[in-house]
Amino acid sequence: MSQPLIAARKAPVRQPGSSADTRPELQVVTPPATRRVRLPLPVACVLLLTLGLLGLLMTNIAIAGDAYEITDLQVTSGRLADQQQAVAEDLAQQSSPEHLATRAGELGMVPAPDPVHLTGTGAVGEATPAPRPSTAAGSPSPAPAPAR
C-alpha cells in the first residue's frame, strides 16, 4: 500500500452539509487533444540492451572475419613473394654473362672481331669478316658479308 493512499485513508472525513454552499462548481473539461504514445520503460530498456548486444555480436563477428581474411591475405602474400623470388632468381641466372654467351653461341652468334674505326683521317684497323661459328647448334647463320 503506497503512502498517498494511507494518507488519504487517514484524512479526516468531511462533514456533510457543513460547507456545501461554498463548494466550487465542477466543470467538464475537454481532454487534451493528443495523447502521446509512450513506450513503457522496461520494454525500452530490454530493447536497448538487445540492440547493444546485437551490435557487439556483429562487431565481434566482423573482427573475427577480418582475422581470417588477414590470414588468407598473408598466405597469398607469402605465395606471391615466393613466386617473385623464383622469377627474380630465374632472371638473374638468365642474365648472367656466361649464360648469355652460351645462348648467343646457340643462336649461331660469334664474338665480334676487331672493330674498324672511322676517324677523320679515314678507316683505322683492318676489316675482318666474322669467323664461322664453331658450333653447328642453332639455326644456320647466314654467311657473313665482308665488311667494307
Binding site: 582475422a67 590470414t71 623470388q85 638473374a92 642474365s95 648472367s96 654473362p97 676487331d114 674498324v116 676517324t119
Partner: protein, 634 residues
C-alpha cells in the same frame, strides 16, 4: 517398545538427533567451502601469474621473421650474389606408418596406406623414385630427411597434399648467377652453423667479399609472438608482439660483370693451354677502380664438394710473385723523376755485366749495344736497367734507399685498403739489409714480391699522370631501406710528375711495336703502352727458383689512358715468355673492354722514340728479327 517415551539425555539414542544432524551438515558444508575457498585463494593469490602465463603459453605462438642477407651487385646492378629461400622436407616415419589408416582399415579408398601410400603421393611432386622414397619413409624413428633445398613453390605443392608427418624446415640458399666467373672475388658461403638453443642458422662465409663484409651483409632476424586458436588461426584482439627483421646491407661493386666474365674465360683458357699453375687478370681504370679481378683456377659455387684452398683464393690479391721486368718501369720512373736520365739518354749495353759476386746477363746473348733509355725498356734489357739505376746515386746503398722509397710510393710492400681475406701485401726487403746481389736484382724486379693488383697499380698511376689513387672495389652500399651511400674514393697521392708519366707512356709504346717484346699485344686503332715480364718464379714448396712468371701489363689508349689490364701467368709450362703467353690475353681482354666501354681510338700518332743511337745496326738487327725475348735472368 511399548510406548514412546521421552528419551533421557544420558540415554544413547542410535539415531542422530536432528540438531546434531544439522550441525554435521553445516560443518561438512563449511569444510567443503573452506577447502574450495582455500583452493580459490591459492589459485587466485599465490599461483595466479604462473597459471596465466601457462595459459598464455598454450595459445601463444612465436615465429621467427628471417632477415635477408644483403645482395652483392656489380656496377650496373647485375646480381653477383643473392639469397633465396629453400625448404628441407623432413618426415616422421613413425607417424607415417599410420598414414591413411583408421582402426587398421584404409580411411580413404583413393590412396594407399602407410609409408607406401604416402610415397605414392609424394613421389610425383618431389620427382623422387617411389621405391627410394618408401625406404626413406619407413622406420621407427621420428626424423628422416626426404629432400633438401626445394623451392618454396614446390614445398607448397607438397604441403597441399596434407600428409600428416611431413614437415619442412626453412633454409636460405645463396645463389651466384655469374657462376665461376666471379666466385673467387665474391666468395662463397659454407654450410650454415645452427645454434643449439635457438635453432637459428648463421651464415658461415668461406672466402671473398662474403667473408670480408660479412657483418655488413648480415641482417638481424626478428620475431613475432601472437595468440592463436587450436587451429592455428590468430585470435583477433589478442596480444601481439612483433620485432621486425632488419635485412642486410647490399654491396655495389665497381666490378663490371661482363668484363669479369671475359677476363675469367680468357685467362682460364690460357691457363689450360699453357699448363700454368694459375693465372690472373686485373682490369682497372686509371682511378684504380677495379673492373675485373679474375682468377684461374676458379671454383664452381654450385658445387663445393672437394674444394681446395687454392680454388677459394682470388690470386689477384692473395698470390705474390716476383714481378720481373714489369718492375723495371719503377726503376726507369725513378731515373726520369730524379732527373738523372731522359728517354733518349744513351747507354752502351754490354753482353754481360759483372757486379758484386755475380755476372748479369740479358735474355739473349749480344755484344755491346748502343741503346737509348727507351730502347732499354723496349728490349727489356736487365743490364741497361742496372746501368740506368746506378745513375740514381754514386752510393749504391743510397740508390737502394731511393728505389725503395719509389716502390713504397707506387704501393709495393703494403696491403691495399680493400681488406680482402687472405690478401698479401707483397714482400719488400729492408734496403739497409739487402744482399749485395739483391741491390741490383730489385732494379729489374727480382728479389721483391708483389700482387697482381699492386703490379697493375703502377701502370694505373702512370696512366693517371703520376697520381696514385688507392684501389677500390666497392662503389657504394645500399641499406635495406633503399638508402644508397657512395663509398669514399681511395686516397690519392702524387708519385711522379705528369711529364715523367707521359714520357714513360711514350717509352712503353715501343714495347708493343714490332721492335718490342710484345707485338702480340698490339690493338689496331689504339696506341698501347705496356711492359712484358718473364721472371724466375720462386717456388715456396720447393724452396728454390723453379719455372717462370709470365706477365704483360698495359694501358690503353696510350695518348689518353683509360684502362689498365694486367695479365699474370704462374709457371706456364709450354710458353713462358710474357710477350707471347700473356700478350694475346691482354689483347683479347683489352680489345673487348675498349669496345664495351665505348672508348674512342687513338687520335695521336705513335710516339716514335729512337731506341738505338749511333746507327747501332746490330741492336736493330736483333730487334727486327724478333730475337728479343725478355727474361730477367739470374
Amino acid at each position: 517398545m511399548s510406548r514412546p517415551r521421552r528419551p533421557r539425555p544420558d540415554e544413547q539414542d542410535p539415531r542422530p538427533r536432528p540438531d546434531m544432524r544439522m550441525r554435521v551438515y553445516t560443518l561438512g558444508v563449511l569444510g567443503g567451502l573452506t577447502v574450495l575457498g582455500g583452493r580459490l585463494v591459492q589459485l587466485q593469490g599465490a599461483d595466479a601469474s604462473k597459471l596465466a602465463d601457462d595459459a598464455l603459453q598454450q595459445r601463444t605462438s612465436t615465429a621467427t621473421l628471417y632477415a635477408k642477407r644483403g645482395d652483392i651487385l656489380d656496377a650496373k646492378g647485375v646480381v653477383l650474389a643473392t639469397s633465396v629461400e629453400r625448404r628441407d622436407v623432413i618426415a616422421d616415419p613413425k607417424a607415417l606408418s599410420g598414414y591413411n589408416l583408421r582402426n587398421g582399415k584404409p580411411y580413404s579408398s583413393k590412396y594407399g596406406t602407410g609409408p607406401e601410400g604416402a610415397a605414392q603421393r609424394l613421389a610425383p611432386v618431389l620427382g623422387i623414385d617411389e621405391a627410394t622414397l618408401t625406404t626413406k619413409l619407413t622406420g621407427d624413428n621420428r626424423y628422416a630427411v626426404v629432400a633438401l633445398g626445394i623451392t618454396p613453390e614446390l614445398w607448397q605443392q607438397v604441403d597441399d597434399l596434407g600428409i600428416a608427418g611431413i614437415t619442412s624446415v626453412r633454409q636460405t640458399q645463396r645463389i651466384y648467377p655469374t657462376g665461376s666467373a666471379s666466385s673467387t672475388l665474391v666468395g662463397v658461403l659454407g654450410t650454415p652453423e645452427q645454434d643449439e638453443k635457438t635453432k637459428a642458422f648463421t651464415d658461415r662465409p668461406l672466402s671473398g667479399l662474403e667473408e670480408a663484409r660479412n657483418s655488413l651483409l648480415l641482417g638481424t632476424n626478428g620475431w613475432m609472438r601472437y595468440e592463436r586458436s587450436a587451429g592455428g588461426q590468430e585470435i583477433p584482439l589478442g596480444d601481439r608482439e612483433t620485432v621486425d627483421p632488419v635485412d642486410g646491407t647490399s654491396l655495389h661493386l665497381t666490378i663490371d660483370s661482363d668484363l669479369q666474365w671475359k677476363a675469367q674465360s680468357a685467362i682460364a683458357a690460357k691457363v689450360a693451354e699453357t699448363g700454368a699453375e694459375s693465372g690472373t687478370v686485373v682490369i682497372m681504370d686509371k682511378e684504380q677502380r677495379l673492373l675485373a679481378l679474375a682468377s684461374a683456377p676458379s671454383l664452381d659455387p654450385t658445387n663445393l664438394v672437394n674444394l681446395t684452398n687454392d680454388q677459394l683464393q682470388n690470386t689477384a690479391l692473395t698470390k705474390v710473385f716476383e714481378p720481373g721486368s714489369t718492375a723495371k718501369v719503377v726503376t726507369l720512373a725513378a731515373a726520369l723523376e730524379e732527373g738523372v736520365a731522359t728517354a733518349d739518354t744513351r747507354f752502351v749495353v754490354p753482353g754481360e755485366l759483372p757486379r758484386f759476386d755475380k755476372t748479369f746477363h740479358d735474355s739473349h746473348p749480344h755484344g755491346d749495344e748502343k741503346l737509348t733509355l727507351a730502347g732499354v725498356l723496349a728490349q727489356s734489357s736487365n743490364i741497361g736497367t742496372i746501368l740506368a739505376g746506378e745513375k740514381l746515386n754514386a752510393d749504391l746503398r743510397t740508390t737502394s734507399q731511393i728505389l725503395h722509397d719509389y716502390h713504397l710510393a707506387f704501393g709495393f710492400g703494403a696491403k691495399t685498403s680493400l681488406k680482402f681475406p687472405g690478401e698479401s701485401g707483397g714482400i719488400l726487403g729492408d734496403p739497409a739489409k739487402y744482399s749485395g746481389t739483391q741491390r741490383y736484382t730489385v732494379m729489374f724486379g727480382q728479389g721483391l714480391s708483389v700482387t697482381a693488383v699492386q703490379a697493375a697499380s703502377v701502370f694505373a698511376t702512370i696512366a693517371n699522370d703520376g697520381v696514385r689513387v688507392e684501389p677500390t672495389l666497392i662503389a657504394g652500399t645500399s641499406a635495406p631501406n633503399g638508402d644508397y651511400r657512395t663509398e669514399p674514393a681511395g686516397a690519392s697521392s702524387r708519385v711522379i710528375s705528369a711529364a715523367t708519366a707521359t714520357t714513360l707512356r711514350d717509352m712503353m709504346q715501343a714495347v708493343v711495336s714490332e721492335a718490342g717484346t710484345a707485338a702480340a699485344a698490339e690493338i689496331p686503332g689504339y696506341l698501347v703502352a705496356g711492359k712484358t715480364g718473364t721472371a724466375n718464379r720462386y717456388d715456396v714448396d720447393l724452396g728454390r727458383y723453379s719455372g717462370y712468371t709470365a706477365s704483360f701489363i698495359g694501358l690503353a689508349p696510350a695518348d689518353d689512358p683509360e684502362l689498365v689490364v694486367a695479365v699474370i701467368l704462374q709457371d706456364p709450362k709450354t710458353n713462358y715468355y710474357g710477350g707471347s703467353a700473356a700478350g694475346p690475353v691482354f689483347k683479347d681482354v683489352m680489345t673487348y673492354a675498349l669496345a664495351q666501354r665505348g672508348i674512342a681510338p687513338s687520335a695521336e700518332p705513335p710516339a716514335d722514340l729512337s731506341l738505338t743511337w749511333g746507327g747501332d745496326t746490330d741492336a736493330e738487327q736483333d730487334i727486327s728479327t724478333g730475337a728479343v725475348a725478355d727474361t730477367a735472368g739470374r
